[in-house]
């Protein structure tokens, strides 16, 4: 039973090998002819807005191609420190950006291009009656936060500490997105994420605002790196993000001006 | 305590349709070409294969089939089986292999082991083997353990499927003698599948020949030799057998005519003992009426004679002395003259 199946697999295995072999020369030629795209590393919470920014940038400057890569900020830092080639780094907090600056990979001084604030999220209709940060200390609530090393998690703990609320989260989630989905699925009763995340997921979760006095405002720094394939285009993209057009797009997605 | 079996089943190309009756203390040998249904027969008797129609009854108890369609599972039949391969369990010691049957019958471990040791001694195994794993045993020893294992479960019917097949020639004679003794002591009916004439002669009271799923002949070894009913039977007992049409003392075998002495007319089988076949390098003169030219195809030595396989118009076997082999230079092959006296040919109506 296994033998004929095995030989079929072995034979079939040649097909992708041949296909790749055939594609290799053409792929190399294309790379040599067109300019190499600038590579942008951006925090997970910037996913939607950076896609919109890149689209607008491509419409205005089709001759300057860029590539986007999203992950949690600490992960991006790790990748950069281990030598991943990138032209632009947009982080979700200053301290992570400083780790990249210390490693000597930045080509300029990082500048904050947007700010974000926190909000509580609950299930639609807020069935557990969460009204303020203090409610998150209730023992009958299952609360999830981002891990303490994820910017959103650090900000959330900062805000809770300032409000004097002691929370024992049921899980240290790796990103804001997984906090939102745990709340949306009902596994958790409440979580703390960025305002922009709650806006994006408004059909799945309900946002409970945190008053400005108790809120934490996090800044997103952006920097050009010296390790990427096309620094010139990278610099142009950073300029675009900080331009009036870029800022209006950021605003549309709920980010605050720097 | 007797076994009555009337079995019909289809399995692949095989259409098995056979009836057997074996009395307590009697050994029936099943012989037949490969694929004739011998092993399937044993499997039905053991309950490892269900029959389609018919009935298996042991000591008045219906095990399979019958008007009410019963089926007794193998573990409740009390049928001991020795398979072609010993099939000892490699994870158990020799003693625990044999003690398995008694354990299944609810005996305490220690008592089952004592019983197993007794049976192992009775099949001629030395003590040092008892606590070893079956992997260290020779083929003959393993088959002895398998026999002890089957007997230790105190079955009421014993089935042996070519018990000597997996044993090399040196151990075969001793094991055959042991089987004979142990079978003789066993009180229930015994059915043995055999592949060789010696085994059948040594073990059987009666021989049943299965061909294509049917019993073509059943009787003592003497009955089979006296009047083999098919070429296979004749070959099994070492005779030449031809079938053809007899008219006026001549049997037409399609190409070769044999002169015979018989009043029979119509389809017949003709048997002739290989020793009654004479060979010559030149055409013989004189009395024999059946003379033709054949080709030597091979030589098989037996203890005192040499069997010569002949081809050509008629395939047959001649048995000659080693001196004749040398004198006729049969080892060189080539053509020889074959002669048979009409009076040596036995003719039976078919």
């Amino acid at each position: 039973m296994h033998a004929p199946f095995g030989t079929a697999v072995v034979r079939a295995a040649w097909i992708p090998v041949l296909a790749i072999a055939a594609a290799l020369p053409s792929g190399c030629q294309r790379a040599a002819a067109a300019p190499r795209p600038a590579r942008v590393f951006a925090a997970a919470s910037l996913t939607r807005v950076f896609r919109a920014l890149a689209t607008e940038f491509a419409v205005r400057h089709p001759e300057w191609p860029i590539e986007l890569h999203f992950a949690g900020t600490p992960q991006l830092v790790l990748q950069l420190r281990e030598g991943a080639p990138a032209d632009v780094f947009a982080a979700a907090d200053e301290s992570n950006m400083q780790r990249v600056v210390r490693s000597g990979r930045t080509a300029g001084v990082p500048e904050v291009f947007a700010r974000n604030t926190l909000t509580i999220v609950t299930a639609r209709g807020n069935p557990r009656g969460v009204r303020e940060l203090a409610d998150l200390g209730r023992t009958d609530l299952r609360v999830v936060l981002c891990g303490p090393h994820v910017p959103a998690g650090r900000y959330a703990r900062q805000a809770l500490r300032r409000a004097g609320v002691e929370v024992r989260p049921r899980s240290d989630e790796p990103s804001v997105n997984s906090v939102v989905s745990k709340v949306a699925l009902g596994e958790a009763d409440a979580g703390v994420v960025y305002r922009t995340d709650a806006t994006a997921a408004h059909d799945r979760v309900e946002a409970v605002a945190i008053p400005a006095a108790r809120n934490v405002v996090g800044g997103y720094p952006i920097a050009v790196l010296r390790t990427g394939p096309n620094r010139a285009v990278g610099q142009r993209f950073v300029a675009f993000v900080r331009s009036a057009v870029g800022q209006s797009i950021l605003g549309r997605f709920g980010f605050l001006a720097p | 305590m007797s076994l009555h079996a009337d079995i019909e089943l289809r399995r692949g190309n095989l259409h098995l349709c056979a009836a057997l009756q074996v009395e307590p203390g009697e050994t029936l040998c099943l012989v037949g070409p490969n694929g004739a249904g011998k092993s399937s027969m044993l499997q039905v008797l053991a309950g490892l294969l269900p029959l389609e129609r018919g009935r298996v009854e042991l000591a008045g108890r219906v095990l399979d089939g019958g008007p009410r369609g019963v089926w007794v599972p193998p573990e409740a039949r009390g049928v001991g089986v020795v398979f072609q391969d010993p099939l000892l369990w490699p994870h158990l010691t020799v003693v625990d292999n044999v003690a398995f049957g008694p354990r299944c019958q609810g005996r305490p471990r220690r008592m089952a082991r004592t019983l197993a040791r007794e049976w192992l001694a009775r099949v001629g195994l030395s003590d040092e083997c008892f606590t070893q794993r079956p992997a260290v045993l020779s083929g003959g020893q393993a088959q002895r353990v398998a026999l002890a294992r089957a007997l230790a479960a105190a079955p009421s019917l014993l089935l042996l499927d070519e018990p000597l097949a997996a044993v090399d020639a040196s151990g075969r004679t001793a094991l055959r003698r042991l089987l004979r003794t142990r079978l003789f002591e066993f009180e229930g009916p015994r059915v043995v599948v055999a592949h060789q004439l010696e085994d059948a002669l040594a073990l059987a009271d009666r021989i049943a020949v299965l061909e294509g799923g049917r019993v073509v002949q059943c009787g003592t070894a003497a009955d089979l030799v006296a009047a083999p009913r098919s070429p296979y039977v004749a070959d099994f007992v070492g005779l030449n057998c031809f079938t053809g049409n007899c008219r006026g003392g001549v049997v037409d075998l399609g190409g070769v005519q044999l002169a015979v002495v018989t009043p029979l007319e119509g389809p017949v089988s003709v048997t002739v003992h290989p020793r009654a076949v004479s060979l010559f390098r030149t055409r013989p003169e004189g009395s024999p009426r059946n003379i033709w030219c054949a080709v030597v195809e091979g030589l098989e030595p037996t203890p005192d004679r040499v069997r010569v396989r002949l081809g050509g118009d008629l395939a047959l076997v001649a048995e000659v002395t080693p001196a004749a082999v040398a004198a006729l230079r049969l080892a060189d092959g080539g053509a020889v003259w074959v002669a048979m006296k009409a009076t040596e040919l036995q003719v039976v109506a078919r």
Binding site: G147, V150 | V79, W89
Partner: protein, 262 residues
């Protein structure tokens, strides 16, 4: 068997050497980057102890659950000859190819608080997400296929006449299963358990998605490595080394039982 060992063709030997280096390099890199000065401090941390203990507990739990669920499944797949075997086999082996994160999401939808089974379980006060039991369930889901596939192969290779022999000696189906079938497929059973345990020990995606990530409760070694990687790469390297040492140690200690030969 043969007394003369014929060497492999030269090209193959070269590829073998390349393959060995390929497996060796990541380990060498881990060792070279080990912060020797901080080793004692990092190895003694409570975080590591918790994660190690939890990983052992959960991987052994998943291996046990695989044994309980997997033996009947493998028997049925190898023996029943049912026409449902093909779809069931696809179903059982799916977690082997599915990205673990997808497995985690699917488990949330099934066993989560609002999930199909989870909502019902909740009535009895049983909730799997964010609990150690949830980690075991997630690990079992991804580990079980390895056990079933290995055992089914062993069962198919088993000469069933050994079971026939037992039946003719008076052993009923249960007795045949326990005293003949299972012991005779022992090597496959142990190899399958080892594969399942190893898969459960390394499980990450389904765990973090389904069971969450809380120190002492659901943060197993792989999750601890992930967390540490973001905060303190030195600690991540030490945790990884512990995971490597643990797995290699078990594989080495059990080498005779699982694989014959030198």
């Amino acid at each position: 068997m043969s007394p003369v060992r014929r060497p492999l063709p030269g090209v193959l030997a070269l590829v073998v050497a390349l393959g060995v280096v390929f497996f060796l390099l990541p380990l060498v890199a881990l060792c070279l980057r080990t912060p020797v000065a901080r080793l004692g401090e990092l190895l003694g941390s409570g975080e590591l102890r918790d994660a190690l203990w939890l990983s052992l507990l959960c991987s052994l739990g998943a291996a046990s659950a695989s044994l309980l669920l997997g033996v009947p499944l493998a028997l049925w797949l190898a023996r029943s000859g049912s026409r449902w075997c093909v779809p069931v086999r696809v179903l059982v082996t799916l977690p082997m190819v599915l990205p673990p994160v997808v497995a985690g999401v699917a488990m949330l939808l099934a066993f989560g608080r609002n999930g199909m089974v989870g909502a019902w379980l909740l009535q009895f006060g049983v909730a799997l997400p964010f609990t150690t039991a949830g980690v075991v369930v997630a690990a079992t889901y991804v580990a079980l296929p390895f056990f079933v596939v290995t055992l089914e192969g062993g069962l198919r290779a088993l000469d069933r006449r050994h079971e026939d022999a037992a039946a003719t000696l008076g052993a009923g189906p249960w007795r045949v299963l326990c005293t003949v079938t299972v012991p005779m497929v022992g090597p496959s059973l142990r190899a399958g358990l080892l594969a399942a345990w190893a898969r459960a020990l390394g499980e990450f995606g389904a765990t973090i998605t389904f069971a969450g990530n809380l120190a002492g409760e659901t943060r197993t070694l792989p999750l601890a490595v992930y967390v540490a990687l973001e905060a303190e790469p030195d600690a991540a390297i030490v945790l990884s080394l512990v995971l490597v040492a643990l797995s290699a140690g078990v594989l080495f200690a059990l080498r005779r039982q699982w694989y014959p030969g030198p």
